[in-house]
């Protein structure tokens, strides 16, 4: 197995020398476990993600990314372990946590029988924002995300990309400190990807934190300045992008090495494939 390549400085917790100015880490996870019957989805992970960064949680399918994010955002109860967001315990201090985070989960529905605009109005008011403010922000978000034309269509009739965008708008509406996005670019067309990127970059440049999961390494490499690599329910590496990448030419290569897939040459046994002979 590839050795753990944990960056040295982020283990110090609060006193991070990377420009977070003494802010508590955006997310601190300690000994987080989750089992589903026989299968262990999350294998006692420890993870500290600094505030103010664009953070990628990468890993192959079934690595436990969604399970981890669900537990971190309070949507799934862990078997054991501690999760803190901005210094507040997710399970003991939900009041301190829920208003500070925005979530776009994967594989869960939205209230699809509302129109895009109604969905934002509903979410914002549920978050306790005044009605006029919700409407103003919804207008702007719909406009920026290029959804104004379909704002009165029911979400059930939206395409995948439109659903991701309206979900993102709902997650951003209350201006959270930390935004969790599970596979926000999965099944999204390139134009929408660019739109979502633009919004997220603007958001992090103001000091907010984005944590998103993905298995598209090129995307993570171009967006993130901090990554955590997950495989088989464990954290294989975490730290600034450059450190995790190390000497490898790309994050993709470093990742394959970390999850132990680098050596497996593709298709040695398929020597009959291609070429002239049938």
């Amino acid at each position: 197995m590839a050795g753990e390549r944990i960056a040295k400085h982020e283990q110090g917790g609060a006193a991070a020398p990377d420009g977070t100015g003494g802010r508590p880490p955006a997310v601190r996870i300690e000994g987080l476990w989750k089992r589903f019957g026989e299968q262990t989805a999350v294998h006692g992970i420890d993870l500290t993600l600094p505030a103010g960064h664009f953070i990628g949680l990468v890993g192959p399918n079934g690595a436990g990314k969604t399970t981890t994010l669900s537990m971190v955002t309070g949507l799934l109860r862990p078997d054991s372990g501690v999760v803190e967001i901005g210094g507040h315990d997710v399970w003991r201090d939900p009041v301190g946590v829920k208003s500070r985070i925005g979530v776009l989960p994967e594989g869960l529905r939205l209230f699809e029988r509302l129109s895009g605009r109604e969905l934002l109005g509903y979410t914002g008011r549920l978050r306790g924002l005044p009605g006029d403010e919700v409407d103003k922000r919804a207008d702007q978000l719909l406009d920026v995300l290029d959804l104004s034309g379909s704002q009165h269509k029911l979400v059930v009739d939206y395409s995948t990309g439109m659903r991701k965008k309206i979900g993102l708008a709902a997650a951003l509406l209350h201006n959270p400190e930390v935004l969790f996005l599970d596979e926000p670019f999965e099944g999204v067309d390139p134009v929408s990807v660019q739109t979502i990127r633009g919004v997220l970059e603007r958001y992090t440049s103001s000091g907010a934190t984005v944590i998103f999961s993905s298995h598209v390494m090129e995307l993570v490499e171009s967006l993130c300045d901090w990554v955590a690599v997950m495989a088989a329910g464990r954290i294989r590496a975490q730290g600034p992008l450059a450190e995790v990448r190390g000497a490898a030419p790309s994050l993709q290569k470093a990742f394959l090495e970390l999850v132990g897939a680098g050596a497996r040459g593709a298709g040695q046994n398929l020597d009959w494939l291609g070429g002239g002979a049938r």
């Binding site: 955002t73 309070g74 949507l75 799934l76 109860r77 939900p94 009041v95 946590v97 829920k98 208003s99 985070i101 979530v103 989960p105 594989g107 869960l108 529905r109 939205l110 209230f111 699809e112 029988r113 509302l114 129109s115 109604e118 109005g121 509903y122 979410t123 008011r125 549920l126 978050r127 306790g128 009605g131 009165h152 269509k153 029911l154 059930v156 009739d157 709902a170």
Partner: protein, 540 residues
């Protein structure tokens, strides 16, 4: 085949289509022995029904109301053919015109081929048997026998063409999201239709019940294709003018239906298909209408109004929620009506209104499906959970309170006696409150998933939870209402019936109190169990 020169005569489309249908049927049967068995059984059952109906109708010959019965039977048969394609949109692949879009076919031969194909099957055979039986039942004399032959052909043709035309006209609708929504509501029609049939059967079962049919048959005998059966009857009585008119009407209907069918087919095969249309269509545009905006303004602000508005929107827009609301509203009214029509009505049947509407409070979060995460991520305290539950209860009461009032008043007016009105009304309000309370508890402790597709209302494996929640909750609600019942009994026994008016304010207050208490007890449990509830409701 494809290498044949194009000068060779193309095979007749009729033969091709019939062969295609037979091949598809055979291949469908080959797929699994279960399917083959089901097909053979349905075939035998269909033929058996046809044979029995034929024998039954022949036996009716000479019975006083046979003519009316035959006409009515044809009417029901036609209705069945008209609605069948709406319930089984994918019933017959050969007849699905959207599959033929890419083929160079002209409308006229295509219509002919599809018509012949549609005539192959159990349905047309059963129809043929019923039509034949009907004319045998009414035909009297040579003239009638002569008219009977075209009459039978017309009945079968009109029925089959009607079904095809309806199917072609609705194929766009049935393959769209809106169409699938409507299909979910189809179960409701079946349930309510069943009630109608049971009432009708009761009526007909009475002595001389068949005479009820006469006025209906008088109208129906001029509606094609039943007019053809009427024509046979008329021909037997020497009314040749009326007979000609009846047959003529059936022919006219057939021609019009054929024209409509061909026109829809042409449009279907030449216009862009639904995937293109969806982009162009206005789609599900929902600019909040005047009424909706007015309602939004009337509702309180904050979480309460927001959640109420969403609940009410879902009651109207979500097919599952709509069906459950329509069931509750429909049955709540039907139970008193049916029991009074059957002659054993009492004002106490009006309890069905508050019982069925109160049950709507159960499994509140299951109705959200996995979108419940949006609710869960905004509930941080028991207070939030209380506001959420209370808003859902209020949305329910907004409909339930006037409805229960209406049904109880209606029951007192039409079934009576008015002297029992006060106690029934008071108890209804108490029961509604108790069901809101136990419904909130059930939602917190026994959530389960409602699959969004299909007609089931419980996800596989969760039926036991659903039963515990509904049945247990109902028992507890009954126990909770018992103090009010005790008061009623005591007032009657003690002869203080003049004081029964107390029940109305007492029931209202008791219902309000117990509901508030139930919500208070349920709220912290909801707040504590958010992840567990989310897992339970996400299985659909």
């Amino acid at each position: 085949m494809s290498t044949e020169p194009t000068t060779a005569a193309a095979p007749s489309p009729v033969a091709v289509f019939v062969r295609l249908k037979l091949t598809l049927m055979r291949n469908g049967l080959r797929r699994s022995p279960g399917r083959a068995a089901a097909f053979v059984i349905s075939l035998l059952a269909g033929l058996l029904v046809a044979a029995l109906a034929l024998i039954g109708l022949v036996a009716l010959r000479g019975v006083p109301h046979a003519g009316a019965l035959a006409v009515l039977l044809t009417g029901i048969l036609t209705l069945g053919w008209a609605v069948m394609p709406l319930f089984f949109p994918s019933g017959d692949e050969t007849l699905d015109p959207t599959r033929l879009v890419m083929l160079p076919l002209r409308p006229r031969p295509l219509t002919g081929a599809l018509l012949v194909t549609a005539l192959v099957g159990v349905g047309p055979i059963v129809t043929l048997a019923l039509a034949t039986g009907s004319v045998i039942a009414v035909a009297d004399g040579t003239a009638a026998a002569v008219v009977a032959v075209p009459a039978v052909a017309l009945v079968v043709l009109v029925c089959v063409v009607l079904a095809r035309a309806v199917a072609a006209a609705s194929v766009r609708l049935l393959t769209s999201r809106r169409g699938r929504d409507l299909a979910v509501l189809g179960g409701l029609l079946v349930a309510l239709g069943g009630q109608g049939v049971s009432i009708a059967a009761q009526r007909l079962g009475r002595p001389d019940g068949l005479s009820v049919l006469e006025p209906l048959a008088k109208v129906l005998r001029w509606v094609p294709p039943a007019s053809a059966i009427g024509a046979v009857d008329d021909a037997g009585h020497g009314a040749y003018g009326r007979a000609a008119l009846g047959l003529g009407l059936a022919v006219l209907a057939l021609v019009l239906l054929l024209w409509w069918w061909r026109r829809t087919l042409t449009v279907l095969m030449t216009a862009p298909d639904s995937s293109t249309l969806q982009a162009v269509e206005k789609g599900s545009g929902r600019r909040a209408g005047g009424a909706e905006r007015g309602l939004a303004r009337l509702l309180p602000g904050g979480r309460t109004g927001t959640v109420m508005l969403r609940s009410l929107r879902y009651a109207w827009r979500d097919p599952k929620a709509k069906m459950s609301w329509a069931m509750a509203l429909g049955l709540g009214l039907l139970i008193p009506v049916v029991s009074s029509l059957q002659g054993n009505g009492t004002i106490y049947t009006a309890f069905s209104a508050s019982a069925l509407l109160g049950m709507q409070m159960y499994n509140q979060f299951g109705q959200d499906t996995s979108a419940f995460w949006m609710v869960a991520s905004t509930i941080a305290t028991p207070r939030d959970a209380y506001a959420e539950l209370r808003a859902r209860a209020l949305a329910l009461v907004l409909v339930a309170f006037p409805y229960v009032t209406l049904v109880v008043v209606g029951a007192a007016a039409f079934i009576g006696p008015w002297s029992r009105f006060l106690e029934v009304y008071g108890l209804s309000l108490g029961l509604l409150g108790a069901l809101l309370a136990t419904g909130a508890m059930g939602s917190a402790l026994f959530p389960y998933s409602i699959p969004s597709e299909g007609r089931q209302s419980v996800a596989p494996g969760q039926a036991a939870i659903a039963w515990i929640s509904l049945f247990g909750g109902f028992l507890v609600a009954a126990v909770l209402t018992s103090p009010l019942v005790a008061v009623v009994v005591w007032l009657h026994v003690a002869g203080l019936t003049g004081l029964l008016w107390v029940l109305v304010p007492a029931g209202a207050l008791y219902g309000l109190g117990i509901a508030a208490l139930g919500l208070r007890v349920a709220a912290p449990r909801v707040a504590r169990r958010l992840p567990e509830i989310l897992v339970a409701v996400s299985k659909g």
